[in-house]
C-alpha cells in the first residue's frame, strides 16, 4: 500500500472539519468511542447536532473557542491507500500553521463555500499551496446543497479560481463540487449533481498519481551521521548515514563530496544493516565510499555532473513565524538539510501581500505571518538547490539563537 499526505485549508465556516469528519466517517475511520466522546462533548456544549469538528480540534483552547489553532494530524486508510491528513487552520493569523502542514503534503484541498465563492482567504490558501510547491491541488466547492446544486454557480466559482490560479505555479488542479454535510461527492457520486462528470473526492485521493512527484533525478545525499562501530568485527567500517533527499544511488557510482569537492566512488550501501545494490529517495541508508576522506555531518554526497549550488549568498522566500519581526541586520541560526550554520539578513527585497500577491518593495521588516523575499549571507556555504526544483534541499528554517525557537521558514530562490 502506498501513502498520500494531504493538507486541508479552509476555515470552520467553510465546512473543513465537517469534510474531514465526513471522509473519516464514511471511510469507517472514526471509532465508536471517539464518536461517543464527541457526542458527549457536543451535548455538554449545547450543540443541536454532533459537532464533527470536535474530532480534530484536540486542544482544550480549541474546543473552548470553537476554532482550530494548530495543525492536527489524522490517519485513515482505504483498501487502496494510507492517508495522513494535516488539518490546518484557515485564518490569516495561522498562516504559519498552514505553511507547516503544506510543507510535507503531496496534495492540498482548498475549501470554499459555494454561497460565498472565492474569498481573499481562498486566494491566500492557493498561493501558499503554490509557494510550498504542493504538487496537486483540489478546490473543493462545498455547500453545494445550499446553492441548489447549481452547475452554473459551480462553473462561475471554478472559472474565477482558474483565472487566479493561472498567476500561480500549480501543476495539477482538480475542482470538485461537494456537500460535506450531506456527503455528496465526498465518498460516493452525487445523485444531486448529475452534470458533474469527475470523480468523488475520496476516489480522487485514492487515485491521484504521485509517483512522478518525487525527484529521482538529482542525486543528493546529506550526511546525517558517521557510523563507526567500536567493535573488532567492524574495525575498518566507516559509513555515512542519511536519508536520500533526491535521486538514486548505486554501488559503483562516481560521487563527489561537498563542500570539499573530493571525488570518490560508492563501495557499498547498507539498508537496515543489509547490503543493497541501489537506494533511492526517501530511503534512510548508510553509504560507504572507496576512499578514506574526511566527511562529516552536514556534508553532501552527490554526482560529479549534477551538483547543488555551494553558496553563502542565498535569495529566498521567507515565511515569518515569530511575533518579533524579521529585519535586515539580524542574525539567526539556519538549519538546512543536516547542515547548521548562521545567517545574516542582508536585505528584504519585498514583502508579498498574501491575499493580493502585491509586492511591497518598501518593506523594512517582515511581521508575523508575512512572506517576503529576503537576501541572506551565511557564515559557511549551504549546499542548496532552488526550492522549485527540490523541496528537500531547497527548504530551510531560521532559529532564534537566544530562545532557540523556530522563527522562519525559507525556500531558496537562488543560491
Amino acid at each position: 500500500m502506498d501513502l498520500l499526505r494531504f493538507a486541508t485549508a479552509g476555515s470552520v465556516d467553510d465546512g473543513k472539519s465537517t469534510l474531514i469528519g465526513r471522509l473519516l466517517y464514511d471511510s469507517k475511520s472514526i471509532f465508536t468511542d471517539q464518536l461517543e466522546a464527541v457526542e458527549r462533548a457536543s451535548v455538554s456544549m449545547g450543540a443541536e447536532y454532533t459537532e464533527l469538528a470536535l474530532l480534530t480540534d484536540g486542544l482544550r483552547a480549541e474546543r473552548e473557542q470553537g476554532i482550530t489553532i494548530d495543525v492536527a494530524y489524522r490517519y485513515f486508510a482505504t483498501a487502496k491507500r494510507k492517508f495522513i491528513i494535516a488539518d490546518t487552520p484557515g485564518h490569516i493569523q495561522y498562516t504559519r500553521n498552514m505553511v507547516t502542514g503544506a510543507s510535507t503534503a503531496d496534495l492540498a484541498i482548498v475549501l470554499v463555500d459555494a454561497r460565498k465563492g472565492i474569498l481573499e482567504q481562498s486566494r491566500r490558501h492557493a498561493f501558499l499551496v503554490s509557494l510550498l510547491r504542493v504538487p496537486h491541488l483540489v478546490l473543493a466547492i462545498n455547500k453545494m446543497d445550499l446553492v441548489g446544486w447549481s452547475e452554473e454557480r459551480f462553473e462561475e466559482i471554478r472559472d474565477e479560481f482558474i483565472e487566479f490560479a493561472a498567476k500561480l505555479d500549480i501543476p495539477d488542479l482538480t475542482v470538485i463540487p461537494v456537500s460535506a454535510l450531506t456527503g455528496d461527492n465526498v465518498v460516493s457520486m452525487s445523485d444531486n449533481m448529475p452534470w458533474y462528470t469527475g470523480t468523488p473526492l475520496l476516489n480522487h485521493l485514492e487515485n491521484v498519481y504521485v509517483g512522478s512527484d518525487r525527484n529521482l533525478v538529482d542525486g543528493r545525499f546529506p550526511v546525517q551521521y558517521v557510523v563507526r562501530p567500536h567493535s573488532n568485527q567492524f574495525h575498518d567500517y566507516r559509513g555515512y548515514a542519511g536519508k536520500i533527499a533526491s535521486g538514486v544511488m548505486k554501488v559503483g557510482d562516481e560521487v563527489i563530496v561537498l563542500p570539499s569537492g573530493m571525488p570518490s566512488r560508492i563501495s557499498g550501501i547498507d539498508y537496515g544493516g543489509k547490503a543493497v545494490e541501489e537506494a533511492f529517495a526517501p530511503m534512510s541508508v548508510t553509504v560507504r565510499l572507496e576512499d578514506d576522506i574526511d566527511i562529516s555531518r552536514g556534508d553532501m554526497i552527490c554526482r560529479p555532473n549534477n551538483q547543488p549550488e555551494v553558496s553563502q549568498d542565498i535569495d529566498a522566500m521567507v515565511a515569518w513565524m515569530s511575533d518579533e519581526p524579521l529585519r535586515p541586520g539580524q542574525k539567526f541560526a539556519i538549519k538546512h538539510t543536516t547542515r547548521r550554520t548562521r545567517a545574516f539578513v542582508k536585505d528584504i527585497y519585498y514583502e508579498l501581500d498574501v491575499n493580493t500577491l502585491h509586492r511591497n518593495e518598501g518593506a523594512s521588516a517582515l511581521q508575523l505571518n508575512m512572506i517576503g523575499r529576503v537576501k541572506l549571507r551565511t557564515t559557511s556555504p549551504l549546499l542548496a538547490d532552488p526550492y522549485s526544483r527540490n523541496r528537500e534541499t531547497g527548504g530551510f528554517v531560521l532559529i532564534d539563537e537566544r530562545s532557540n525557537a523556530t522563527v522562519g521558514a525559507g525556500m531558496v530562490v537562488r543560491a
Binding site: A241, G272, T406
Partner: protein, 307 residues
C-alpha cells in the same frame, strides 16, 4: 489501468518503508544533535518497534544510547521479562526509574485510585535529570489520542518538563529543531505518523517478537466499566464482579491496575492484523481507564511533563 502499472514500477516504497525511513532519520537526528539522549523502553509493542528501528539506524554499530524504563511497579510479568530479553538482545544499557522507590522516599504519593499513571511523571523527570538526559525518545503515536495528534515530532519541554501546546515550534519538511538551553529538554516521537495497524504490519514484516500477552490467551477476567480486567494482585474484583476465564489479548500495555484486555481469538500476528483492521474502537478507548476522566485528560497530563 496504466496508472496501476506505473505505480508498481520499481523504486516504489510502501507506506511501511516510508514510515521506517522517516523514523530512522528522526532517531539519527536525535543522536547527531543532542548530547545525551535516551529512549523510553517498557517492553510494550511500540517501544519494541522503536528499539528495532534504532538498531537498524546505527547498524553495524551498537545502539549509541541507553534505554529508560519508568517502572510503576504495576507490571505484567510477561512484559517485564520481555523487556530484559530485548535489553540483552540489543546490548543496550537499561536505566530504571522506580515509582515504588519514589513513594518510599516520599517524593510522590500513591493516588487514591491506586493508579500510578499520574505519579510516574515526577519520577520520569527526576530520573532524566539525574542522568542528564536532555532528549527522550518515546513510542507515542499521533493516532492514539487527540492531544498527541497536535504534538510535534520534536516536542520542546521547559525546565519543568512541561508541554505548552500553544507555543510549539513550527516543524517543516524534515527539518527538526532540537536546540535547547541547559535544563530544558526535547521529547521526540519517531513513530508519530504510525498507526496501530502500521505497527502490527511492521511487526509481521520484520518478524519482531512481542510479549505473549499481545496474543489471545486464556485468562481469568472480570468486567468493569464495560472493559475486561485481569483478576490479579493489582486488580481485585469486588463482590459484584464475578470472574470468568475468557480468551483475551492486550492491545496496549500500561499500568496493570487500569489496563484492560479485549476479548479476542487472535493468537497469531496475522490474526491480530485482521482484528485491528476491522476494529471500531481505538486502542486506548478499549483498554485504558485513565483517558476517560475528562475530554482533556491527556493534554493536562502532558502539560505536567507526561509523555
Amino acid at each position: 489501468m496504466i496508472d496501476t502499472d506505473r505505480r508498481q514500477t520499481k523504486r516504489h516504497l510502501t507506506q511501511l518503508q516510508v514510515l521506517e525511513a522517516e523514523a530512522i532519520y528522526i532517531i539519527r537526528e536525535v543522536v547527531a544533535e543532542v548530547e545525551n539522549p535516551a529512549m523510553m523502553f517498557s517492553g510494550g509493542k511500540d517501544s519494541i518497534v522503536m528499539l528495532h528501528l534504532a538498531a537498524k539506524a546505527f547498524a553495524p554499530s551498537a545502539i549509541p544510547f541507553p534505554v529508560l524504563h519508568i517502572d510503576t511497579g504495576h507490571n505484567f510479568p510477561e512484559v517485564l521479562e520481555f523487556r530484559d530479553l530485548c535489553v540483552s538482545k540489543y546490548r543496550v544499557n537499561l536505566v530504571v526509574g522506580s515509582v515504588q522507590d519514589a513513594i518510599d522516599r516520599n517524593v510522590v504519593f500513591e493516588d487514591r485510585s491506586g493508579s500510578r499513571n499520574r505519579i510516574q511523571t515526577p519520577v520520569l523527570l527526576e530520573t532524566a535529570a539525574k542522568h542528564g538526559f536532555n532528549a527522550l525518545m518515546g513510542g507515542a503515536r499521533r493516532d492514539e489520542e487527540k492531544a498527541r495528534a497536535k504534538e510535534r515530532v520534536f516536542s520542546f519541554r521547559d525546565e519543568f518538563g512541561q508541554w505548552d501546546p500553544k507555543s510549539q515550534r513550527p516543524e517543516l519538511w524534515s527539518i527538526y529543531n532540537a536546540q535547547v538551553h541547559v535544563g530544558e529538554s526535547i521529547r521526540v516521537f519517531p513513530l508519530s505518523n504510525w498507526t496501530e495497524l502500521d505497527i502490527w504490519e511492521y511487526i509481521a514484516a520484520e518478524g519482531i517478537g512481542v510479549p505473549p500477552i499481545y496474543y489471545a490467551h486464556q485468562r481469568e477476567v472480570f468486567e468493569r466499566n464495560g472493559m475486561w480486567f485481569a483478576a490479579n494482585n493489582f486488580c481485585q474484583p469486588t463482590a459484584n464482579e464475578p470472574t470468568e476465564v475468557k480468551s483475551v489479548r492486550y492491545r496496549t500495555v500500561g499500568d496493570a491496575t487500569l489496563t484492560a484486555a479485549v476479548l479476542s481469538e487472535a493468537d497469531t500476528v496475522e490474526k491480530v492484523i485482521e482484528e485491528v483492521s476491522v476494529t471500531r474502537i481505538t486502542e486506548r478507548g478499549a483498554t485504558r481507564g485513565d483517558d476517560k476522566f475528562s475530554e482533556a485528560a491527556m493534554e493536562d497530563r502532558k502539560k505536567e511533563g507526561y509523555f
